[in-house]
Point group: C3
Chain length 436, copies 3
């Protein structure tokens, strides 16, 4: 039975002590006021800091950085011991050096190891370890690191060695991040949404008001979002596959892969997954908005009204097979596109993508991905139909939203078809295989 | 090449032997009737129990507890060896002591290690290891435990050290559990469903029958479930966020976090995830039931009939922009609420929640969770509209189901808004940070 | 700080060097043209192959197999060193022996370890390790293997020991596989789809054309797929549960479980998961196709037309409670069936199935699975209703598609009900427990 010392009887100190106690360690707490401490695991000793330090050569410092200074009084007792720094800050890059390095400077004779800072005290104690089970570990002494990693493993967590103590800065910033990779896709899609939204408001609300004094504001709730969301989804989907094509053109132009891409292209390529998932989200919204169409009061009212008008005027509306074909086929294309879209989403779940090999992953993401794009583009094209040409759909010379949405996907597909012409494809393959 | 001995040529014995043979171990079986054994891995030796025991110092006892007694005859041969107990029982707490402890008592000179009991023989052999790949290991001798854990790791499974042999009881109970954390949420939602169901039957089936002799029983199939499911979903969603608010009030009242919550609150907080997922299930059902509305014979018949009546009576039904607004906006709120609901569901998939840090997880679960609740509540409020006030919707003084469903969410949201008033929020933060 | 040598400055060499450098190793590259190499991690040395080899006793050979011959010149320098073979081929079983074994033959005095071949260079460098993080490792020298596995672990990947170097063949084939387990289910469902599709074309398009000269081709887009997909989904779902029943009958007939099943049954049992997921895919398509029904031009036109005809002819169409019941109840059964279907799908996500124990997994997959089958079968039965009997639905003596689709599920359910009769069930349990 190994003894571990924990400094500080705060939230994290107690949780760690509790958990280690459960996993068979004997735990000694150090505290400013040993007799007042409460809620500690039964069987754990609580001593003053200096007494506790003597009981073990591995000490978990569950104290905020602001209070580290008092540890300097214990320099002698701590000499040669392993100090585990678990602290986090409130802001990214709050201090010039990382907390772990600061601790190491304060107490030069010790082996400081950074660990446990990504774990939540509450989750650890309650067992509901929903967010990351990964514990990043770094430190300059590899034996000390190994011992801490053993403790991590015994608690049922996954240690990840991050190298020397200089990595502490990054480790301390990690828990303060808020979806860094999602930021660009989300901003981009917000900008696109706002643009298409106002574009549609002008065409569908302001135009009829100006020319017909009709109050069409109720379209703001469903009709217009159901133009905005699919358009943005389609544009984003095309933007997922655009960087791959740009990279190919660049490599063809340069004739070599041995040069770095410009930074923006690199970043764009790395956030394609997030772009794709945001596109999926918008497509999902489009599908829901579409499926509720027949429930809407406006739609039911219009159907009733059209029937009544026709009954009054006694005009016949014969069945048009070509309209039926067009209506059915654009919907069918949309469904198939959405189905593949969802499949792409499922394979990007970490647990699923982890069970497939690269060839399979590339097959789904690249081959089926392009198929998705083709189906969705065809869906919008068939939906648009002849409307592209009829002048009546150009209000104030503004084309319908889906015409705008189709520009990037269609251009992309044309370029891609050029790139897979055998002779160009062969040149590209040669470049990518790197055999001069 | 290490040699491992397996006692018993039953299902688990064979599967383990087969798998270990595949992973490079040499395997010796012990059996009552060595010559009759069949389906064993080619290359494995089958001997009598005592002969087999001599071949290796690590022995996997793949025999039911009921037959352990005969091992006492081998006490001498087994002295000092590692015995791996793999057995399960048929009922929780079937015997006073765990099987592993019983084995250790029977054979005092041996090192008993508990392992492999969570694995299915069929899955191991066929490679379809769908359910848990985790192997809980416990034992008093840490060297013995380490060796068994190495075997586990080599077979591609994940060993989890659970400490000393006293943990065996819990390990043996684990495979007999059936969704313990889901029990309370499921019972609760079943009770709510039954209550709301009969409530709606009284209002929607019995009342029209009593007053109008109308046969509305067909409503039992879709209309009434589509009142029950969304109401229960909304109540459950509110119950997910209620304990957090209660805990905050309690902490404010006590002025400290250094006291345990009452047990019921603790348990409630731990099953919020399950409550939320059950709510998602009901919401999903509500969405499906809603989307099929226009397909229903009853709805199509009613629409046709209304059109006909209007054609006959020649009455005009002018388009009401405000009705269109209300109808569209409650549906749009529902869609957005459902979208976020699904997002919450996706982030609670273990593999997704494992790739986000705590800040991100809390952001989605807490911030977006409250947004979901607000959207869903607004959806039901707007749907209810003025109906709250009109006496015609109070049949036998019973308010519509959605009025009942709105009580808890609205109350909760009001309290939450009070709690985030800056001065109260600051007090709470101070308490939770624990700085006296 | 350990020094690792990398042979070859190609894609994988650079990526591995880069990553190892990041994780604290010091890296030395060997290259044909050290001075021309570019894009290498700063701080890494680039030397000629023979010089580089002397710097470290662990060498990663990031060169294509076709160029291994030149290594024979270095036999002396490489003596006793660990060579890590990372190579892949372009085709399965391209060469008689595996690349790793070939390398070992070329350089007899070295310890060859196979590793890293499943990792993509681009993913490793960019950190977007979406597909498999697993690194299969094999080799004859267990110390060498252990050292390579430590490197793998340090890079944040998961090493999996596969035994001796003879396993290299399989490891090299792994990255070339393309969904081997999905092949049979996909072929089977494609065949079923084609068959049911042409069957429906004959009944729904050719028959009306021959007898009424009606152009019903527009049905090819939605109406017919919406017969094909649900029928195939139902058949596949039944085929998931059929092998379990066949196995039970076989075991009852043989009176023992100690005999292998025929190979086809074994394979069938192992691809039930994939069969089930494909069935879920088709069911999902059916649901989408069904929900868009009211949006279709054809359906809206028909509703309008029927209303108009009725208005003209002044015929009354009274409300039929029994039709309402039937219509609502088959839809409700479908929804509940689909809900459970999705639940089955969610529990087969690797990360979810990994957190449940076997009892829970069996409960969901077997108990709820049969419930799903029952609900879906009932859905189709109630939908079919009396149509089974009316001769008008037999066109050219061909029964409707759903009658065909119902044959296997109904038969299966009948046999299953027989098998769970207590006396038969007891006999089966006795056989499966294996107590003679
Ligand atoms: C719903 C949805 C989910 C998605 N999920 C994911 C996801 O989980 N993960 C993900 O990565 N993407 C994801 N994407 C984005 C997209 O599908 C993939 O990035 C896809 O692989 C791009 O295909 P491509 O043919 O354009 O690739 P290309 O750009 O042609 O090639 C990309 C691939 O080629 C290789 N490569 C790239 N550049 C080079 C180079 N210079 N030298 C050598 N090889 C190179 C790499 O293996 C890379 O993965 C998702 C998209 C959608 C719509
Ligand atoms: C579809 C769906 C899925 C869900 N999935 C999950 C899931 O996967 N995992 C999950 O946990 N919940 C899940 N939930 C439930 C719910 O979203 C979360 O529990 C949510 O975090 C509650 O938010 P809150 O603001 O009420 O939390 P609060 O109760 O205000 O705070 C809870 C959080 O604060 C911390 N905390 C709690 N008590 C204390 C204390 N005494 N001292 C210090 N810190 C404390 C903890 O970090 C805790 O997680 C799900 C809900 C839904 C609807
Ligand atoms: C949407 C969907 C998803 C699915 N996902 C999965 C999945 O992730 N994983 C999966 O495996 N299946 C999956 N399936 C297939 C199916 O649900 C399961 O295979 C299910 O367990 C079969 O149930 P059963 O009652 O027919 O099993 P049975 O055939 O009666 O028994 C099967 C089980 O019994 C045991 N067993 C089988 N043969 C023997 C034997 N000879 N001796 C002793 N025990 C034996 C094994 O534990 C086996 O799992 C899925 C199906 C669907 C529709
Ligand atoms: N809570 C989490 O979820 C979490 C997660 C990851 C990392 N962390 C890190 O863990 C460390 C501790 O966090 P915590 O949440 O446990 O904090 P806390 O509850 O505030 O506890 C801090 C403890 O530090 C001790 N301490 C020593 N000198 C002190 C002083 N001068 N003033 C105040 N306290 C002093 C106190 O213990 P005694 O009274 O016994 O002396 C106190 O209980 C922090 O560095 C934090 O960043 C916390
Ligand atoms: N099957 C599973 O999926 C599974 C999963 C987890 C744990 N387990 C546990 O593993 C153990 C074995 O399970 P199993 O499924 O392999 O059982 P089994 O098929 O019934 O085999 C039991 C074996 O025990 C041996 N045995 C020794 N003395 C015996 C006696 N007096 N009577 C009967 N058999 C005797 C027999 O082997 P010989 O004929 O060769 O002597 C027999 O084959 C049990 O403790 C079980 O709880 C099983
Ligand atoms: N790329 C991947 O994603 C990946 C993934 C898994 C496995 N692999 C395997 O890793 C190995 C290397 O792949 P790679 O993609 O890095 O290939 P690559 O880019 O073509 O690099 C091959 C390197 O081999 C060296 N080399 C030595 N003798 C050579 C010769 N006679 N002709 C050409 N090159 C020679 C060259 O380095 P110098 O110019 O410095 O001598 C060249 O850069 C292959 O066996 C491959 O199967 C690659
Ligand atoms: C129905 C469509 C589905 C629905 C909605 C769209 C959701 C799209 C947005 C996903 C957002 C995920 C947030 C992840 C948080 C995060 O940062 O997650 C971080 C990780 C990033 O991991 P890495 O850092 O390892 O790359 O992202 C993920 O894990 C992505 C999860 C993808 C989930 C896609 C799920 C699709 C499931 C579809 C199911 C079925 C649909 C049925 C249809 C009717
Ligand atoms: C469409 C909505 C989705 C659908 C249906 C609702 C499902 C809700 C019920 C989930 C039940 C999961 C059973 C888990 C078994 C278990 O015990 O699982 C046990 C684990 C518990 O793990 P821990 O013990 O680690 O907490 O639970 C889970 O892993 C939860 C999985 C959550 C899955 C939510 C999935 C939502 C996906 C939504 C996708 C897209 C939707 C598209 C919409 C049209
Ligand atoms: C909406 C229904 C969902 C949708 C669509 C159907 C998808 C069915 C096809 C799944 C294909 C997965 C490809 C996997 C690639 C692979 O080889 O994956 C390989 C692994 C095989 O793993 P093993 O080798 O470990 O067995 O398969 C999987 O991981 C299976 C993943 C199953 C995913 C099912 C997800 C269902 C989610 C439902 C969500 C909610 C729905 C909401 C409804 C409106
Ligand atoms: C189930 C799947 C789908 C169905 C049933 C469907 C149906 C529809 C319908 C009915 C419309 C016309 C909307 C209107 O009249 O205002 C439409 C438009 C459109 N859809 Fe889809 N769709 C589906 C999936 C998709 C997907 C996956 C995409 C691509 C990302 C997409 C992109 C579009 C676009 C761009 C438009 C034109 C929007 C506009 O400007 O009006 N659809 N879809
Ligand atoms: C796609 C998303 C959604 C749509 C299209 C939708 C649509 C509807 C519709 C049309 C009704 C009226 C039903 C009727 O007339 O009987 C309704 C009622 C209701 N919905 Fe939703 N909804 C959605 C999501 C949600 C969600 C996520 C919740 C909350 C959990 C919810 C809660 C309710 C409640 C409580 C009612 C009142 C039920 C009653 O008593 O009649 N809805 N919804
Ligand atoms: C949300 C769930 C579901 C709904 C709303 C639904 C609805 C329907 C509807 C409206 C039809 C009649 C289609 C037509 O008139 O052409 C139908 C037919 C059918 N459904 Fe479903 N269904 C659902 C789920 C399922 C599931 C999960 C299965 C089984 C795998 C299934 C199997 C069938 C079959 C076999 C037919 C007969 C197809 C034919 O030959 O016409 N359904 N369903």
């Amino acid at each position: 039975e190994e003894t571990v010392c924990v400094f500080g009887t705060g939230d994290l100190g107690r949780s760690l002590g509790f958990k280690m106690h459960q996993c068979g360690y004997s735990v000694v707490f150090g505290s400013r006021s040993p007799q007042m401490s409460s809620l500690l695991p039964s069987g754990a000793e609580v001593l003053s800091y200096s007494e506790a330090a003597q009981k073990s050569d591995i000490i978990i410092v569950a104290i905020h950085r602001e209070h580290y200074y008092f540890l300097t009084e214990l320099t002698k007792v701590l000499k040669g011991k392993i100090l585990v720094d678990v602290s986090n800050n409130l802001k990214i890059n709050q201090y010039p050096e990382s907390n772990a390095e600061y601790l190491a400077q304060l107490l030069p004779g010790t082996h400081v190891v950074k660990a446990f800072n990504t774990i939540s005290a509450w989750a650890l104690q309650s067992g509901a370890l929903d967010a990351s089970r990964q514990v990043f570990v770094c430190g300059n002494d590899s034996k000390a690191k190994q011992r801490v990693m053993n403790i991590v493993r015994t608690l049922g967590l996954t240690p990840l060695d991050q190298g020397s103590l200089t990595a502490a800065k990054e480790i301390e910033n990690y828990p303060l991040q808020l979806f860094p990779m999602w930021r660009f896709p989300l901003y981009l899609s917000a900008a696109l949404c706002i643009f298409v939204f106002f574009y549609c408001v002008i065409r569908d609300v302001i135009y009829p008001y100006v020319y017909g004094k009709k109050n069409e504001t109720f379209r703001l709730a469903i009709s217009i979002p159901n133009r905005v969301f699919p358009s943005v989804a389609l544009i984003l989907l095309a933007l997922v596959y655009l960087p791959g094509v740009l990279a190919a053109i660049l490599q063809l132009y340069r004739g070599t892969k041995y040069r770095r891409f410009p930074a923006w292209l690199d970043h764009w390529m790395l956030c394609r997954k997030q772009l794709g998932l945001v596109a999926l989200g918008f497509a999902f919204l489009h599908v829901l908005y579409t499926l509720v169409i027949p429930i809407r009061y406006f739609v039911r009212w219009r159907l009733k009204n059209m029937t009544l008008t026709q009954a009054m005027t006694n005009k016949d509306s014969p069945f048009s097979t070509s309209t039926a074909w067009r209506s059915d086929s654009y919907v069918a294309l949309g469904i198939l596109g959405f189905f593949l879209f969802v499949l792409l989403g499922i394979t990007s779940l970490p647990s699923v993508s982890n069970t497939v090999n690269w060839r399979e992953f590339r097959f789904v993401q690249s081959k089926l991905g392009y198929l998705t794009l083709i189906l969705c583009t065809a869906h919008a094209l068939v939906y648009g139909g002849q409307r592209f040409l009829s002048p009546s759909s150009y209000k104030w010379y503004l084309p319908p939203a889906h015409v705008l949405a189709l520009i990037i996907p269609c251009t992309l597909l044309v370029i891609k078809f050029i790139l897979i012409i055998p002779c160009i494809d062969k040149a590209l393959t040669r470049i990518r295989q790197g055999w001069e």
